[in-house]
């Protein structure tokens, strides 16, 4: 290598190193800021449910619960739809429709979170309230549907999140399906398979990547802030009920960060941010690993 080329490589490498630096700095800074809270509460922070800034007591269990509950609910709603779209666009639809459909689903991903939130408050929440008042009394006895019909709450949050997650999962799943060799489907058809059976075979072949796509959607749902904050009701409680107003990790940081008057309060909020950072890091890392494994085992084009 010529020395001038080495100089070039080193200088642009310095810029690239900035990316590594930023990620490390985020982890370091969050850990530093939350040190006070980590020292004071230790692991109890994640096991207790009292969130009382005035008394200086901080337990983050309701937030973890709300984040996991809303994300899993969103995933349960979004995954079948997202996979259906991916299959329809990549396997079933007429070629003329393909580009417009891809554009429209991508538009769903491009709409700002705050717009989803605004729509959630003024359109979705009244609709959910209506649904809740229509719920028959016999169902209301179940813990899943208990509580007054407020509109704001877990159900509204799950629905908004589901709409927001669909485009992510479906676009990755579509890319993954594209990497399945045509011969897989041809072989299935040659054996007399119906369309469903051939596609099922292709999806089974692509299962690693599809699980990766679902997890990527999960990662998105975990960190989503504004839309959820605006419709979930912001009430820290651990409840199974879909109708109950609850709270998530990102929502509590968004709502209370500027109100945190003392160092311990602020530190507790940063610790929630730190854990959110670590969880999304793991979920995203795992999902990328799966998609990557899938892309590598396929001899043809590389996806994702």
């Amino acid at each position: 290598m010529r020395s001038r080329d080495l100089g070039f490589r080193l200088s642009i490498g310095a810029f690239a190193a900035a990316l590594l630096l930023i990620v490390t700095a985020i982890g370091f800074e969050l850990a530093r800021q939350s040190w006070l809270s980590i020292q004071r509460f230790g692991f109890d922070f994640w096991r207790t449910s009292t969130w009382d800034p005035v008394a200086g007591e901080f337990g983050a269990l309701p937030f973890i619960w709300g984040t996991l509950y809303s994300s899993i609910l969103a995933l349960a709603i979004a995954t079948p739809v997202a996979l259906g779209i991916a299959v329809f666009v990549s396997e079933l639809c007429p070629p003329v429709l393909r580009a417009p459909l891809i554009f429209l689903t991508e538009l769903l991903a491009a709409i700002p979170s705050i717009v989803y939130g605004l729509w959630g408050i003024f359109v979705l929440v009244p609709f959910v309230r209506l649904l809740e008042t229509w719920t028959p009394e016999s169902m209301r006895a179940l813990p899943l549907f208990s509580g007054p019909p407020l509109g704001v709450g877990m159900l509204a949050a799950g629905l908004v999140l589901a709409v927001m997650v669909v485009p992510f999962t479906s676009s990755v799943a579509r890319e993954v399906l594209k990497t399945v060799p045509m011969t897989q489907r041809e072989a299935a058809y040659a054996l007399g398979a119906t369309r469903f059976e051939a596609i099922r075979a292709a999806m089974f072949y692509a299962r690693t990547g599809i699980i990766g796509a679902i997890m990527l959607g999960f990662g998105r749902a975990l960190g989503e802030t504004m839309a959820v904050t605006m419709v979930i009701g912001n009430n820290p409680q651990v409840s199974l009920s879909l109708f109950a107003p609850q709270y998530t990790m990102s929502a509590v940081v968004a709502n209370e960060f500027t109100e945190a008057t003392d160092a311990l309060y602020l530190s507790a909020l940063v610790e929630i941010g730190l854990v959110l950072f670590i969880i999304t890091l793991l979920v995203n890392g795992l999902s990328r690993g799966l998609i990557w494994t899938m892309a590598r085992q396929v001899p043809s084009k590389v996806a994702a």
Binding site: E29, F88, L101, L104, A110, I114, L118, W119
Partner: protein, 286 residues
């Protein structure tokens, strides 16, 4: 499944599956249509010239607009671009030029990681490094938060687009005795430039719609401000505070703000699509 008698149920199942897939497309397009319908129909009522030319009025006084927030968003995204474009584009060049190296893999991993970090967490980080030390919310802190979000987006698109440039161009430049730097700067980057610009525009559109990282960095400001060291309003944060307020008039303004945001996103994505389609056509014609 192996006797002739079961053929019909299998076909029915298959048809049901196809129908279910088509239905899921419809299920996703319904909320899109609903959101678009409400944003346009509600937003258009309050969107007038005053919205762009006036600052917010106190509660109870009708009229007023979001001039301060619109200028704030423009300056914040400009600042973000000033931070992210150099780092993002140059990192992208590194990723494509030295793609096989271990360092490139690490950087690529960092970019994808950063891309997945929730925006609120980036806001907390920017608060820690750019607000806390100065004890002051500022436009700079907000621009930093948005800039950090843009870097991985730009780096990855730049990398992808440089990889699309035909290898013959690179080899030609090197064969003529160009250094690596010269080949990159005078041949490869210009060839990929339209795509890179498209990527930057899309990244700008994406961060222009961000709220969470601005809540406690640029904070918000009811007054017009262009100072880098002062808190500044942005369309998104303004929409948020109006949306959760109890005032009818502010709700209308929030819808108008949402319409502006959605228009920005829409115009950018359509423009980007047209630009990439043009590039593809030119490439195809070669």
């Amino acid at each position: 499944m192996n006797s002739l008698g079961t053929v019909a149920p299998r076909k029915i199942l298959s048809a049901l599956f196809v129908a279910a897939c088509a239905l899921s497309v419809a299920l996703a397009l319904v909320p899109l249509a609903f959101i678009m319908f409400f944003v346009v129909s509600q937003g258009i009522q309050s969107l007038n010239l005053d919205f762009f030319l006036h600052d917010p009025r106190p509660v109870g006084e009708p009229g007023g607009g979001m001039r301060n927030a619109i200028v704030g968003t423009l300056m914040l995204t400009g600042l973000a671009a000033a931070i992210a474009v150099p780092i993002g584009v140059v990192s992208g060049i590194y990723l494509s030029e030295y793609r096989g190296t271990r360092f490139a893999s690490a950087v690529r991993f960092a970019a994808d990681t950063l891309n997945g970090v929730p925006s609120i967490v980036i806001g907390v980080f920017a608060y820690g490094v750019a607000v806390l030390p100065f004890k002051h919310f500022s436009m700079l802190a907000g621009g930093l938060a948005l800039g950090i979000m843009m870097i991985p987006l730009i780096a990855r698109t730049t990398e992808e687009l440089l990889l699309l440039v035909p290898n013959a161009l690179r080899e030609g430049a090197l064969a003529l005795g160009a250094t690596r730097a010269k080949a990159v700067m005078t041949v490869l980057v210009p060839a990929a430039l339209p795509g890179i610009i498209t990527g930057v525009v899309l990244a700008l559109a994406r961060v222009a719609g961000e709220t969470a990282p601005l809540l406690f960095t640029s904070f918000g400001n009811p007054f017009f401000s262009t100072s880098l060291t002062q808190p500044v309003s942005s369309i998104t944060v303004q929409v948020f505070s109006y949306a959760i307020s109890p005032y009818e008039d502010w709700h209308r303004q929030a819808w108008a703000g949402a319409l502006v945001l959605v228009s920005i996103v829409l115009i950018c994505s359509v423009a980007a699509r047209m630009a990439t389609a043009r590039v593809a056509r030119i490439r195809g014609g070669q």
